[in-house]
């Protein structure tokens, strides 16, 4: 047993972080906010070229032949930088929906949020993950725009459910949890950075225990979620995946709220990125598996243990 990242996994994480730093830095993030979450199709194709969506496809199908642990590391990086788009749905559709694997198609899932669909106008294909766990293309001629809580995730309401969705695929839940983990880690780092530089009463505010302890708790939630998400990726167990989502949702939402608290008034402004993490974390917390549903899954696991 060596739970730590392998050298290859570290290299993968470093590579993805560098790619995203180069192609989706702060200016690109704010430009995406100004576009109200409209997608950069060129970047989408570049992600496809980099193997982002085909990561887990076998090599003879043009994929990288990697597993869930590697996918988790990649989606953690995505969560760190708040990359917009139906990344999880397109990743899951790779291999079954044409164009998904190489980033020439944008695939969104109607079963990700009940009755709502993300990035509807940018999407080439709408799918539903039915009870067989496979993405089924559905025809959605029109949908009504809903003002979205998250400025980076446009939402549309479907007139009626296109197809009864099955239970959420484990990989979808896990990769969403991985995005939450990345966001939680980033919120912790940003809060710490601010606490070191912001001076009040003649000292950095991070020197006050009331602030330092907030940051320490952010770290505890992040690292606990990390252990849960990584272990769920290794084992692939659906109950453990649901538990990982539960803890990662908490780490991301509470982390962003604590980060806002550490930033004070500046954190409450539109120009700060703090609210972008908070709003996306709130949206992801409702994606695929809500807290209530994840807790019930845990309870069922306890009940079936007797």
């Amino acid at each position: 047993m060596d739970f730590r990242l392998s050298d290859d996994q570290r290299a993968l994480r470093r590579g993805v972080r560098e790619l995203l730093a180069g192609r989706f830095g702060r200016e690109a993030l704010r430009a995406a906010v100004d576009r109200e979450g409209g997608l950069d199709r060129k970047l989408w194709r570049e992600l496809g070229d980099a193997g982002f969506f085909a990561l887990r496809l076998p090599e003879d199908e043009g994929g990288a032949g990697l597993g869930l642990p590697e996918a988790v590391l990649v989606f953690e990086e995505v969560g760190r930088v708040l990359l917009p788009g139906p990344l999880v749905a397109t990743h899951l559709a790779a291999g079954s929906v044409p164009g998904a694997a190489d980033g020439t198609a944008v695939v969104t899932a109607a079963s990700e949020l009940p009755s709502l669909v993300q990035h509807f106008e940018d999407a080439d294909t709408v799918v539903v993950f039915a009870s067989d766990g496979v993405p089924h293309r559905v025809d959605v001629p029109e949908a009504e725009a809903v003002p979205s809580l998250d400025p980076l995730t446009p939402l549309h309401r479907l007139p009626r459910p296109p197809l009864t969705p099955g239970p959420p695929p484990g990989a979808a839940v896990l990769l969403t949890a991985a995005e939450q983990l990345g966001s939680a880690a980033r919120s912790t780092e940003e809060a710490v950075r601010h606490a070191k530089s912001r001076v009040q009463f003649g000292r950095p505010v991070g020197g006050f225990q009331a602030v330092g302890h907030l940051c320490a708790e952010m770290l505890v939630r992040t690292e606990t979620a990390r252990a849960a998400v990584y272990a769920a990726a290794v084992g692939g167990d659906l109950t453990e995946i649901a538990g990982a989502k539960l803890l990662a949702d908490e780490a991301a939402v509470r982390g962003a709220r604590d980060c806002l608290q550490v930033f004070g008034g500046m954190g409450f402004t539109w120009e700060s990125d703090v609210h972008l993490h908070l709003k996306r974390a709130l949206l992801r917390a409702r994606r695929w598996l809500t807290t209530a549903r994840a807790e019930e899954i845990q309870a069922q696991a306890l009940a079936s243990a007797f």
Partner: protein
């Protein structure tokens, strides 16, 4: 990210499981909680059984992964807890192994591993709790001995201990961390007085220890004079690392029992309680993964767990209290009945956010040493 155990580790697990299955039914029932001499005898006999079977040195010599498997399997099988041997096996022993002379290792480690000598910990003082480095128990060199005077508190198992790992101030003029020395003191030495301390849970494993000109041979000093703080840190980081691994296994079993009880008495139909138990299931699953993470780090860094121990301890102490609070909801009026183990454990769990470094101190450690924030005020 590899959570698979090697063939050798699985073989160790299987052998241990077989041995436990054959051995545990032959053990006498545990003695009553307050009978310390009987508990000492019981715990020592168990340690001797482990030693004779080749598992005596698992806390000292085995790899962190084998130690984890040992803690997991013994807890799952319902084996006796390390009990009165806790300080010897998990604190003093590792410290002596790491910092002692060959003669000291020879003298002390064997009796610890065979369960023949019980150790207690003389670190905290009435005025030196979270601020351990402010300890004032003084030791003055007199020929080939130190003369020790002062008071210690929260000394577990002091009533039945043979030895005490003792922190004393040998240089009152030095900066606080640099005037401390680690001594091994005989508990039957003249001048040692033990006064049991009853906890809010009613138990008496703690004691106050009064030291009045106790002579401790200089040969029983571990590490250099005035280097005791560094020697001690080795022990404390160990305590916050994997020492609680067995308890996580026990909590997961308790949680299953709580759910069973809730289903039997109808509480399970309450979605608020059911979801609360569900969340605890996710929580303790994650805590076990965190233990495995810390063990992997410890194995890679030569056995000393790092600051991951503080993350674990903060989360675990909180989760343990939440678990026993949830048992009270399931027990209903039984939550007031002290004859029920869960009611007693609920009270005992209150010490977890205080003992072995309070949650506030753990947060300081994370804020300052991991996150690099300025020293807090």
């Amino acid at each position: 990210m590899d959570l698979a155990y090697t063939a050798a580790e699985e073989e160790f697990r299987a052998r241990l499981r077989d041995w436990l299955a054959g051995t545990l039914p032959t053990l006498p029932p545990p003695p009553p909680a307050g009978d310390w001499p009987a508990r000492r005898a019981h715990d020592s006999a168990w340690q001797r059984r482990l030693y004779d079977a080749g598992y005596g040195n698992v806390h000292l010599d085995a790899s962190p992964t084998l130690r984890l498997i040992f803690l997991e399997e013994t807890e799952k099988a319902g084996a006796p807890y390390v009990g009165a041997n806790f300080v010897g096996l998990l604190h003093a022993g590792p410290t002596i192994a790491a910092e002692g002379t060959p003669e000291q290792r020879e003298r002390w480690l064997g009796p610890i591993l065979r369960g023949e000598e019980i150790w207690c910990q003389g670190f905290s003082e009435p005025d030196a709790g979270s601020d351990l480095a402010s300890l004032r128990t003084k030791a003055v060199r007199d020929g080939d001995a130190y003369v020790v005077t002062g008071q210690k508190i929260w000394t577990s198992h002091a009533e039945v201990a043979d030895w005490c790992e003792l922190l004393v101030r040998t240089d009152p003029g030095a900066p606080r961390h640099r005037g401390i020395t680690w001594l091994a003191m005989r508990m039957d030495a003249p001048g040692v007085t033990v006064r049991p301390l009853r906890t809010l849970a009613g138990s008496t494993e703690f004691a106050e220890v009064f030291l009045d000109e106790v002579r401790v041979p200089a040969a029983d000093r571990v590490g250099e004079e005035n280097d005791g703080w560094r020697v001690t840190m080795v022990t404390l980081s160990f305590e916050r690392g994997t020492a609680f691994a067995g308890e996580v296994v026990a909590c997961r079993r308790t949680l299953t029992e709580v759910a069973t009880r809730a289903r039997a008495n109808g509480c399970w139909d309450d979605p608020v309680l059911r979801r609360r138990l569900g969340r605890l299931h996710a929580e303790f699953t994650a805590l076990w993964r965190l233990v495995q993470w810390n063990v992997s780090e410890a194995a890679a860094t030569g056995g000393v767990p790092g600051t991951g121990g503080s993350v674990f301890k903060l989360r675990y102490s909180q989760a343990r209290q939440e678990l026993y609070d949830a048992t009270a909801e399931v027990l209903g009026p039984g939550a007031l009945d002290l004859s029920l183990p869960w009611t007693r454990e609920r009270l005992s769990s209150l010490s977890y956010t205080i003992a072995a470094g309070t949650s506030q101190i753990q947060r300081n450690i994370l804020a300052e040493r991991v996150l690099g924030l300025p020293k807090g005020r």
